[in-house]
């Protein structure tokens, strides 16, 4: 018989999202997840959590919160820490997810004003999706650059934009354009920032006997047709090696504290990165990346990028599932090279 893997999992309980009736003035709902409470008004999202016998409140601009929440949902809590800002965020425990308030803010944590609570990932995900559905107004696309989506996020509730927040996300098995794999985005328009990018595909000529065994596509053309910002999509899968290029404009909506080393290769234009200690948020470096530059973001930092002109960036991820523990236990150093 086959090798049996430890004990079985059983649980098929339905997921319940705790949401209030629409507020009589703003028409937005309030949400609860464990001891966290989330509320939005015309301009702000207020997050609160228990601390020192009272409730600690934290406020974010609603557009910044929704842009960050959109990434956390689209990426399924991503790798490691997704800081919405210097105070609130999530930490992926792969099956469970930790929501935190003030935990990675040195001052708040030292003052015992921080709070952390864990949830099953699907339960937390449903709450996040419900917030997005209720709080994104008509015309507001949290994936888009501000110049493209404007200020439609502000004000009392005004319709929704389900099509934008639940847009089809392409999963690649091996490489775009291969038979049975993801498409080459020919049906999407070239973004306004990449009007000068050549759109021709490479010519592939092979020796007899190799027909159908080689494949190539124009990555710059592919990226020029990206309809989202700060949202990597996989373009090459080789076991656990994932190439995840993306186009970036304005500010990375999250401050990402990866649980592994993450390689960045700047393909076009410029991105200015602010790099800080993952645990405390203390500044560590600023890195201005220009076309052709390569950087390895260490496993013990958090980073946030700024791009005035839409830029192309290749993110190279190692998806090995045992990496977080190897870094946490010190078996791997947080950086790939020692100078």
């Amino acid at each position: 018989m086959a090798m049996l893997e430890s004990k079985a999992t059983t649980a098929t309980a339905p997921i319940v999202v705790k949401a209030s009736a629409p507020d009589p003035r703003t028409h937005y709902r309030k949400f609860e997840l464990g001891a966290f409470q989330f509320e939005r008004d015309e301009y702000f999202v207020t997050i609160s959590w228990p601390a020192k016998g009272a409730r600690q409140q934290h406020r974010m601009s609603a557009d910044a919160f929704l842009r960050a929440l959109m990434r956390d949902v689209a990426w399924g809590f991503f790798y490691g820490l997704v800081n919405f800002d210097g105070m609130f965020g999530t930490r992926n425990l792969y099956g469970r997810v930790e929501f935190f308030g003030g935990r990675y803010n040195e001052a708040y944590h030292k003052a015992s004003l921080s709070y952390v609570e864990q949830f099953d990932s699907p339960v937390a995900m449903e709450t996040c999706k419900s917030m997005l559905r209720d709080w994104c107004n008509a015309g507001f696309d949290p994936f888009a650059a501000p110049a493209e989506t404007g200020s439609t996020w502000a004000g009392p509730k005004n319709g929704d934009n389900i099509a934008a927040i639940e847009r089809f996300r392409i999963a690649t098995k091996r490489m775009p354009g291969l038979a049975g794999d993801s498409p080459l985005r020919d049906d999407l328009p070239v973004n306004r920032a990449f009007a000068d990018v050549a759109q021709d595909e490479p010519e592939v000529n092979v020796e007899p006997g190799f027909e159908g065994k080689l494949h190539a596509f124009n990555l710059f053309k592919y990226l020029s047709r990206s309809d989202v910002t700060w949202n990597p999509s996989v373009t090459s899968v080789c076991r656990e090696s994932l190439y995840c290029p993306t186009t970036e404009e304005y500010i990375l909506p999250i401050i990402h504290g990866n649980d592994r080393v993450e390689w960045f290769i700047q393909l076009s234009d410029e991105i200015d990165w602010e790099v800080a200690d993952k645990e405390t948020g203390r500044p560590r470096a600023r890195v201005l990346m220009k076309p052709g530059d390569v950087a390895a973001m260490p496993a013990d930092i958090r980073h946030q990028g700024y791009a005035t002109k839409r830029a192309m960036l290749l993110v190279w991820e190692n998806a090995r599932m045992d990496l977080p523990k190897l870094y946490e236990t010190g078996k791997l150093k947080p950086y790939p090279v020692e100078f």
Partner: protein, 128 residues
Amino acid sequence: MTGTSLDGAWRKREFAPTAGTSVCRLSEIPDGAAREFSFGDGRETFRLLVLRSGERLRAYVNFCPHFSLPLNSEPDKFLLFGGRIYCANHTAAFRIEDGYCEDGPCTGDWLEPVPLAVEQGVVKIGMT
């Protein structure tokens, strides 16, 4: 099974068990549970996910089409809620019934189904 283009795709995977290979005794999979079984040696074993609902069994290759990773991050620990199995990595939600991803980062994709048969209380790899 699903009638998708992935029917039979599992056979091309390394260490894929042949029809008639024993998996376990039916009694080793509690009702409503998910268990994993591996075939082959080394890091790249064939990982089979078996889910039971009453007398009904479903089996898939334990491989999420989003990032080509197993659905569980810890041995035999699967996320089952409301008729769905969720990938622990990035929360893609698949219908237990047919392996269709109806929510998450690879919506519209499928788990690869593997046929099973039960003979005298023993779960085996099926023919079709």
